[in-house]
Structure formats: structure tokens, C-alpha cells
């Protein structure tokens, strides 16, 4: 038999437990609240009453009544039923509403952060939103200070005077959250709470604090710390919300920092490329210009605004565009790079020789994203190269001609000597005598020719003395006036105080005579004028006259005629030895080449301008003595 006292003792225990439940519920433990709290209070109250009634009945207060069983027991399942039906529905609704509110808040935050590119502004916005979402009086964001064991407040909501304050990582829950990379919360005033957190919390009347790390790409970029004053600890959902907020913030801060870095880098490289001397052009896959630097503007004359978005073919002369498509583009596609010389077209229609360095640019997946072209004007370089080739050709031909002339001179000496001996031995006016005279004349013409050839090859000895070119010009023009036909008008324009040059006066004379004879031959029978002028000039050192040319004071002699001019085909070759545009027997092809060689030998340069039908102007530039 079970004693009645055992049953009563059990009921008393039940009453105590129900009372404890009541006490706990009245404290509102998280997360019991609202309807659930009310229903649980009812369960606890009924259980307490049921147990109490049983005890009271046992004591004999209501001997005939069975209040506990008849009244309170049926109520209990009703309350449980309500608990299991209403609370989930209510919880669903609350969760839905809370989720909606938080999503809306996060959306507002994301929208608010998107246009912001300054990390500090982003942090301020996150602090404000965190405080508004959870109804908190204070929120701050701290970032690590090198070497990483200190944190600084970079943004604040509700704690403006704390901006810039530095904390040791160990002294705050923020430091612990940063080191452990997890959310940490503390009760302000609790003996285990970090000292700095307690100090700060007391100053702002906070009761609870939480710190959540801002993590992105496996790195902690800062910590969001927040506090409240109502005594409630931060529950799971609040911490999850803060973590979501921090994920957004960390991504936005990271993006802002990356953007700042990219912008800075882009500005740096743009400055470098924009200020490059060479033309830098970038075209897309459709060969449309997407970048055009200042160098390109200087080279072509088009501005970036004028050409960007246009097909790049406008930089090539029309008659060479097919070559680009047929040769350069296939090579570029095959090799990825192409470099070489190619004619290019300026805005003003001028064609010049450019050096193109083209390369295709690939992305990480190996797809072509654009083609980069670095172009420069090498017209002058090409001209100098041609001059050098010409000079080398002249040198070779001169050496060859000089070698032959030397041997030939020995032969002619023997022929002349033999012809003189024959003349002495033969009767004058006889046929053999006339033949000997013819041999002597031919040999003497050969000697003259050999002398010219030796002058070309520098084998002829030269004098070096101060030469007044005005005097040389006067003598040469005087000689020309006496010998040239009268329908040629010969005039001179001489610089009164002309500098002297150092050289061989007879060779200078030879140069002028060659130029005057060529001018006369160019004028022909129709008549015209030849103007010889001298002038002091400053020879520049920009290399346009050749790499070996010495800059400084100089003298220029020009011989200009109004003759037939030189055809473009002949212009390239007029300084070549044995090249002549004159008829058979009228020229040896050595006059201009000899003059050219003499001027070069004196450290000078000879240039010309000619237009067929309008005459030619030769310029002789010589350094002053």
C-alpha cells in the first residue's frame, strides 16, 4: 500500500516546481514572451493550483469535493492545445514580419552603401543602420592598427567623442571578437567583462555589449561593436542580423578599398600612357578606337574625342588599307604581335613613315579584349638611313673608281709618253702623225677623267686654308658669264660679311662650276636665270643634316636655276657616280657626285629642292672656319 503522505509529498513537489516555473516566467527569460508566455503562465498556475488543491483536500478542507480533478485537470490540455496551435502561428507571423523588416532594412543599407566609395562613410552608415535596426543607443566600428594588436574607432553612432580612440585588443570585447573571429557579448559591470568595455559601457549607461567581426575574403577588416541600455542580452536572431549587416559592410568596405586602389592605379597608368611621347592607340575586337593618347593626337592631329568609337583604318593611307587587312592583321592574329614600318596618314592628309608595334591583349581566360598599338614617326630616321646608305654606296663606288683610276693613270702615262715619242719620230701632217696626235688627245681626256675620279675617291691631295666663298663665287660666276650663252641671266646675292670656311679653294671652285654647269644644262635653249647667293647661317644640331654634322656657325651657298627641274625618279640618284640624265656624250655622271664628295669631305652637306618645270635649288652648307 502506498501511504497517502507519499502522494501528498509528490503533489507538494509539483506545487513547488510549478511555483518555480511561475517565478522564472515572470522574469521573462529569452525567448519566452507574448502569447507563449501567457499560456505557460496559465499551465504553471493551473499545475500549482491542482497540486495545492490536492494537498488541501488531503488536509480535509474539502472532503467531498474533487476540485483538482474535475475542474483544473480538464483545463490543462486546453491550454496545451492553444500553446501548440497559437504559438507556432504567432511565431510564424512574427518571424515573417521581423524577416521582412530586416530584409527591408538590409535592402536600404545595401542601396545606401552602393553609391558610396569612401570606407569611412560606409562605416558611418553601417553604425547608424545597426543602431536603428535593433533600437540601440550606441554602435561603433573599429579597425585594426598595425601591427594588429590595437583597434581604433573609425565610425560611431551615439559616441561621437570616442572617434579615433585606440584600444588594446585584449581590453575590449571587440578585440576578442577580432582575435577569435566570432561574435562576443558581455554584461557591463560583470567581473569577467573586459575593463575598457566596462568603462565605455558605464560612461554611456549601457548594460550589455556585443562585438561582431567584419570579415571578407577570409580576412577580418574590422569589428562592429554595439551596446544597449535595457538589460537584455543580445539573442541569436539579433546577433545573426548583426553578422549579416557586418558581411554587407565588410564587402562594401572591401569594394571601396579595391575601387580606390584601382582608381589610383588607373590614374597612374593613364598619366604615364597619356604623357608618353609615342602614340598609344587601343582598339577593340571590331577595330574601333577605344583609347587615343596625347602622343597619338600630336602624331596624327586628331583628338581623342574625334576618333574614339571610329574604325581605326583612318590612320592608314587609303591605297594601303588592303595591305593592312591582307598582311598585318593575319600576322597579328597568328603571332599575337606585329611590328614594322608602314605608311600612316595625318589629319592634314600628309603621309609619313611610322613604326608600328602592335600587340593583342588577352584576358585571364585567353580571350582577346583589345589590340594595343604603339606608333612613332620615323620619317626622319628613314631619311637619315637612306642618306647613310647613299653615302656608303658613294664611298664604295668612289673607292672602286679611285682604284681603277690609279691603275688607269699609269697606263695613260705610258700611252701619252709613247704618243709623244711617235709624234717626234713621225713627219708632221702625215697620216701616222695625225693618228699619234689623236692618241695623245684621247689620252689627255682620259687623264682629265682620271683626275675627276681620283677627286671622287679622295686620292687627290687637298689643301686646307681659309677660303672666302664670296671670292670663289665671284671667280666661278665670272668664268660662267664668259662661257655661258647670253640668254642665261646670271645674278649673285652675296652676304657682305661672309664667314670664311676652311678647305681647298680649287675644290670649292670645282663644286661651284659643277653646279653652274648643271644649272646651265637644265635651262637649255629657252633661256632662264641662275642665281648664286651666299649667306651666314646657324647650323642646327637636330640631326636633320646627318649624324656627323657639326652644329654651329656656318655658310650656305645656293645655286638656283629656273630650268627644267629634276624628275622624282632622278632625284633619288643624282648624287650617284656615273648616273646622268643628260644625253649620250653630254655628261660623264661624275660632276654632281664629285661635288657631293668634296662638300662632304669639307664637313658640309649638299641638299637640293626641285620641282619639274620650275627649276632646282642646290644648297651647299659648310661649317665656318
Amino acid at each position: 500500500m502506498i501511504p497517502e503522505t507519499v502522494i501528498v509529498a509528490i503533489d507538494a513537489a509539483a506545487a513547488v516546481a510549478a511555483f518555480a516555473v511561475l517565478l522564472r516566467l515572470l522574469e521573462r527569460p529569452q525567448p519566452v514572451r507574448g502569447t507563449a508566455l501567457g499560456l505557460l503562465l496559465a499551465v504553471a498556475s493551473l499545475s500549482l493550483t491542482w497540486a495545492a488543491c490536492n494537498v488541501i483536500e488531503w488536509a480535509g478542507a474539502f472532503p467531498k469535493a474533487d476540485i483538482a480533478e474535475d475542474f483544473f485537470e480538464p483545463l490543462l490540455p486546453v491550454i496545451w492545445l492553444f500553446l501548440f496551435i497559437i504559438v507556432p502561428e504567432q511565431e510564424d507571423r512574427r518571424r515573417l514580419r521581423r524577416g521582412h523588416d530586416r530584409l527591408a532594412a538590409l535592402h536600404r543599407l545595401a542601396v545606401g552603401l552602393t553609391p558610396r566609395h569612401d570606407p569611412r562613410t560606409i562605416m558611418e552608415e553601417v553604425c547608424t543602420q545597426a543602431a536603428r535596426l535593433l533600437g540601440l543607443p550606441a554602435a561603433v566600428i573599429l579597425t585594426p592598427e598595425p601591427p594588429g594588436n590595437r583597434l581604433t574607432i573609425r565610425a560611431s553612432h551615439g559616441m561621437p567623442v570616442e572617434m579615433g580612440r585606440i584600444f588594446e585588443a585584449d581590453g575590449t570585447i571587440s578585440g576578442r571578437a577580432f582575435q577569435r573571429q566570432t561574435a562576443v557579448q558581455a554584461v557591463i559591470g560583470d567581473e569577467h567583462a573586459p575593463a575598457a568595455t566596462t568603462d565605455l559601457g558605464r560612461r554611456y549607461n549601457l548594460t550589455n555589449a556585443v562585438a561582431v567581426p567584419l570579415r571578407v575574403r577570409d580576412q577580418t577588416v574590422g569589428v562592429l561593436a554595439a551596446g544597449r541600455s535595457d538589460g537584455r542580452p543580445f539573442d541569436d536572431s539579433e546577433i545573426r542580423l548583426l553578422q549579416t549587416l557586418c558581411a554587407h559592410a565588410a564587402a562594401a568596405i572591401d569594394a571601396a578599398r579595391l575601387l580606390a586602389r584601382v582608381t589610383e592605379s588607373e590614374a597612374k597608368y593613364r598619366t604615364i600612357v597619356e604623357n608618353a611621347q609615342a602614340a598609344v592607340i587601343v582598339v577593340d575586337a571590331y577595330r574601333q578606337v577605344i583609347f587615343w593618347n596625347r602622343g597619338a593626337q600630336r602624331l596624327f592631329g586628331w583628338t581623342a574625342a574625334e576618333v574614339e568609337g571610329h574604325h581605326v583604318e583612318f590612320v592608314y593611307p587609303e591605297d594601303r588599307r588592303a595591305d593592312v587587312v591582307q598582311h598585318i592583321l593575319p600576322a597579328l592574329q597568328r603571332e599575337g604581335v606585329w611590328s614594322g614600318e608602314f605608311p600612316l596618314l595625318r589629319k592634314n592628309g600628309e603621309v609619313f613613315t611610322g613604326f608600328l608595334n602592335l600587340s593583342r591583349v588577352f584576358d585571364a581566360r585567353g580571350q582577346v579584349i583589345c589590340t594595343l598599338g604603339i606608333l612613332s614617326d620615323i620619317t626622319e630616321r628613314v631619311r637619315l638611313r637612306e642618306q647613310l646608305v647613299q653615302a656608303q654606296k658613294m664611298e664604295t663606288l668612289g673607292a672602286l673608281a679611285g682604284g681603277i683610276a690609279h691603275d688607269f693613270n699609269n697606263l695613260l702615262t705610258a700611252i701619252l709618253g709613247s704618243a709623244n715619242l711617235l709624234e717626234d719620230d713621225l713627219a708632221k701632217n702625215s697620216e701616222p702623225y695625225e693618228a699619234a696626235v689623236s692618241i695623245e688627245k684621247a689620252a689627255r681626256r682620259g687623264t682629265d677623267l682620271v683626275a675627276q675620279l681620283m677627286g671622287l675617291s679622295r686620292r687627290q691631295p687637298t689643301r686646307s686654308e681659309p677660303v672666302d666663298l664670296n671670292q670663289v663665287v665671284g671667280e666661278a660666276v665670272g668664268l660662267a658669264r664668259r662661257t655661258f650663252r647670253s640668254h642665261i641671266d646670271l645674278t649673285t646675292r652675296l652676304e657682305p660679311h661672309l664667314r670664311t670656311v676652311r678647305g681647298d679653294p680649287s675644290q670649292m671652285h670645282q663644286v661651284l662650276m659643277n653646279l653652274l654647269v648643271n644649272a646651265r644644262d637644265a635651262i637649255g635653249r629657252d633661256g632662264g636665270s641662275i642665281t648664286v647667293a651666299t649667306r651666314n647661317v646657324e647650323l642646327d644640331g637636330n640631326g636633320s643634316l646627318g649624324p656627323a654634322f657639326r652644329p654651329g656657325p656656318g655658310v650656305m651657298v645656293t645655286v638656283a636655276d629656273t630650268g627644267a627641274g629634276i624628275t622624282p625618279q632622278d632625284q633619288d640618284r643624282i648624287f650617284e657616280p656615273f648616273y646622268t640624265s643628260k644625253g649620250e656624250g653630254e655628261g660623264t655622271g661624275l660632276g654632281l657626285s664629285t661635288a657631293y664628295a668634296i662638300v662632304n669631305r669639307h664637313g658640309g652637306r649638299m641638299t637640293f629642292e626641285s620641282e619639274p618645270g620650275h627649276g632646282t635649288t642646290f644648297r651647299v652648307l659648310l661649317p665656318a672656319d
Binding site: M1, I2, V6, I7, I10, D11, A13, A14, A15, A17, A18, A20, V21, R24, L25, P29, Q30, P31, V32, A36, L40, S47, L48, W50, A51, N54, E69, D70, F71, E73, P74, L76, P77, V78, W80, L81, L83, F84, V87, P88, E91, I173, R176, T182, A183, V184, Q185, A186, V187, D190, E191, H192, A193, P194, V210, P233, F234, D235, D236, I239
Partner: protein, 114 residues
């Protein structure tokens, strides 16, 4: 006397149990309801015991004799009645104790520095 209250108690507990089983996932997913299932079951068992005590078994003499007062049960020495009574009281008491323990041990998920 017909023990209507006890039958009602059992019926309501059965309905609640059925509802609980039908919405098992929803109920157990809620942090507030999941720990309440055990106390509810304990109370349900106690209620069952209460009802078993009061089932009417004989109407021949014109008045109701409950199962625990039937000659068979009485001949058994009264231990059945006492066992049911014990289950009833222990069930309710255990439910109350369980609830108290659950409520006093609730914690937040975040690490708390104390």
C-alpha cells in the same frame, strides 16, 4: 457519479496529441515549444491514469460503479487503483519539474563573457 471532467481531460489530451503529431515539424522547430513536448507527454500520461481510475463498469444495480471500485479490482487488493493514482500525481509533478528545469537552463547561443 459519471466522471465527466476526467473523460474531458483525456479527450482534450488526445486531440492535443494528435495535433502535436500532425504538426510535429513546426512544433519541434520552434525553440520555445520543443522543450515543452516532454512535460506535455507526462501530463497526458497522468491524465490517462486519472481517466482509467474513473471508467464506469457496471449498470445492473441501477447505479454506476467505477472500474477501480469493481469487485475484480477490489479483489486484487486495491494496488491497481493506487498505481494509477501514483502515475497521475507523479506525471503532473514530473511535468512541472521538467518545465522548471527547462526554463531555468535557457541560454543564448552567442558566447557570453561573464
Amino acid at each position: 457519479m459519471f466522471q465527466f471532467g476526467e473523460l474531458l481531460t483525456l479527450g482534450l489530451f488526445l486531440v492535443t496529441t494528435a495535433y502535436l503529431l500532425l504538426h510535429w515539424r513546426t512544433t519541434t522547430a520552434l525553440p520555445i515549444l520543443r522543450p515543452l513536448v516532454i512535460p506535455f507527454v507526462l501530463m497526458a500520461v497522468a491524465a490517462l491514469a486519472t481517466v482509467l481510475e474513473g471508467i464506469p463498469t457496471e449498470f445492473a444495480t441501477g447505479h454506476v460503479i467505477f472500474w477501480e471500485q469493481s469487485p475484480q479490482v477490489v479483489r486484487a487488493g486495491g494496488w491497481v487503483s493506487q498505481a494509477l493514482n501514483l502515475v497521475e500525481h507523479v506525471g503532473f509533478a514530473a511535468a512541472a519539474v521538467w518545465l522548471a528545469v527547462v526554463l531555468w537552463r535557457r541560454r543564448t547561443a552567442a558566447e557570453v563573457v561573464r
